[in-house]
Symmetry: C2
Subunit: 360 residues, 2 copies
Amino acid sequence: MRVADGLPLAQTEPGHEARARVRFQDPRIEMAHGAGGTASRRLIEGLVVPLAGVSTHAPLADAAYLDIAGTALAFTADSFVVRPLRFNGGSIGELAVYGTMNDLAVSGARPMALLTTLVIEAGLSTQVLEAELRALGEAAARHGVAIVGGDTKVVERGKADGLYITTAGIGRLDSRLTVAASRVQAGDRVLVSGPIGDHGITILLARGDIDLRADLQSDTRSVWPFVEAMAEAAGSAVHWMRDPTRGGVATALNELVRDRGLSIALDEDAVPVRDEVRGACELLGLDPLHIANEGQVLAVVAAAAADAALAAMQAVPGGEQAAIIGQVREERLRTVTVVSAYGGTRIIDMLVGDPLPRIC
Amino acid sequence: MRVADGLPLAQTEPGHEARARVRFQDPRIEMAHGAGGTASRRLIEGLVVPLAGVSTHAPLADAAYLDIAGTALAFTADSFVVRPLRFNGGSIGELAVYGTMNDLAVSGARPMALLTTLVIEAGLSTQVLEAELRALGEAAARHGVAIVGGDTKVVERGKADGLYITTAGIGRLDSRLTVAASRVQAGDRVLVSGPIGDHGITILLARGDIDLRADLQSDTRSVWPFVEAMAEAAGSAVHWMRDPTRGGVATALNELVRDRGLSIALDEDAVPVRDEVRGACELLGLDPLHIANEGQVLAVVAAAAADAALAAMQAVPGGEQAAIIGQVREERLRTVTVVSAYGGTRIIDMLVGDPLPRIC
């Protein structure tokens, strides 16, 4: 399929086009529609895509692909509405840079340039804005990504929660990588770059809504070093990647199995989870597999190359706890199953509802 | 100068880099900082650019230029926070598509692909969202521009004003055009594609805050047809373009004369203004030259090609009232002067304050 003016989409995913009709029946939008789980999927696939005429076969993918005179580019945008603006290990400014860089990275593209738009609530102290602009600038500079422009809007008091930031990014595809759900095969291994759930639980604690303290910080960071290490070590044996933000690892993998018509079995004991995250999740009745991450990459790699990809991620600073956490199965049940050390198994679905609103 | 990873900025504007230090002293952000006038310029040049490290010489330009393997692209993003969401002649959905398309167009780039991100207030009726998604999709489809992806966030009730939309766009530079403030010369003519102020006054009336009725509608539309017509008729004799949105024609021209170190004289009687707009402005003590437009292009064209460029715009449907409204002068006063039919002259500055908040 083609984008306007001779720009072909370099890669497309099958199976979505037939669904492009309005099926969304909820009378109004609620928080869960923004949580990245089942309700988000219904809203996006059932309303946004058919009405806005989103011309991609992969509306839930992290970036769109464009081919410019033989150079393959990825193009993506995200809005950030995290509350509070600052939290242990990061802030909205950093998140807005890394979130968009990471969407490019897991699309196989090296981030190059960003645009950033601000919606500021009148009355916001300049000091707060200054801190976030500095965070934006430093995060981008740290990774050699240029902020090339943007836009600033101000709304009345009470009409935003301090500050919302949107970033749009453009990146160049790494020719060593070809990632697409359609490339995922039975037998492939599922890898993750590090401990899951740190970001979501950190945000929850930062709000002070629950009486719990933990020495935890957000994993907000660029995942490009992990992607590049895997590209070098495993190349096209890397079949699929995603940064498991809203909805967590379980939602990202459920989207994959539904799109691909396969199943995934996760080894619960292999999934790296910090004690603090596990403890908070037990207390709150949440599953770490549903908690958002902002600095992890989830990859599906051909079995023969999985160990090499794992070693490459582990060699990246901050990737020491990377792990192979599961395997793609032939079963056409389109389920993600978690197998515990005791041999028990349970099916883990996409995130339902919104236990942790506004985590990014 | 260069953007990351070998992407040169194809065009840059001189004179901004030396100013890239924090000079913004206001203790907090107020509505005027988002109005597109002097306060916006202070915020952007004095805080956003130095801290976020915006790596362009033209932070107030409409788009950034990127060169991909010899193909020149323009890349831009804007957030839309217009209140109310729907108004005579348009709505936020249309505005979000045309606003970004127009930023590309006046940068000399044919719009190709858009991304759209939504920040939705919980409780928004699906019907309202549906109407805006439809407006987005129809506006893009009407002009052969692909919406290739996006993002959806939901914030709590009271934390947004229904819906904010951000669009990011990418376009391909028209090789016939090279527009930059540095190309503007004394003697050049100033052209506008049609009557000014329709959008701003329509929004003002739509809010019902003032007891005034007028048969007026927003000029929200794509300006690409005007740009393309001028490219065909005048090519590189088109020296500079801008879509005069927030802050209106006066602010756009003041930015130009300040950047360029020249002056501009406008012929007041030549400026097309509808009676309804003129009447509302007189009543409110506003100048039509400060009122926002969402479907006009302001161009500076070499004198010898000005008539051809004008005729080309007038031949485009909706361009019948295009006019030559002024001339660039050698005087280094960096002022925009308005000359009336009676020979009186006045200096018109950039917009100060925010008489019309949230018009886009």
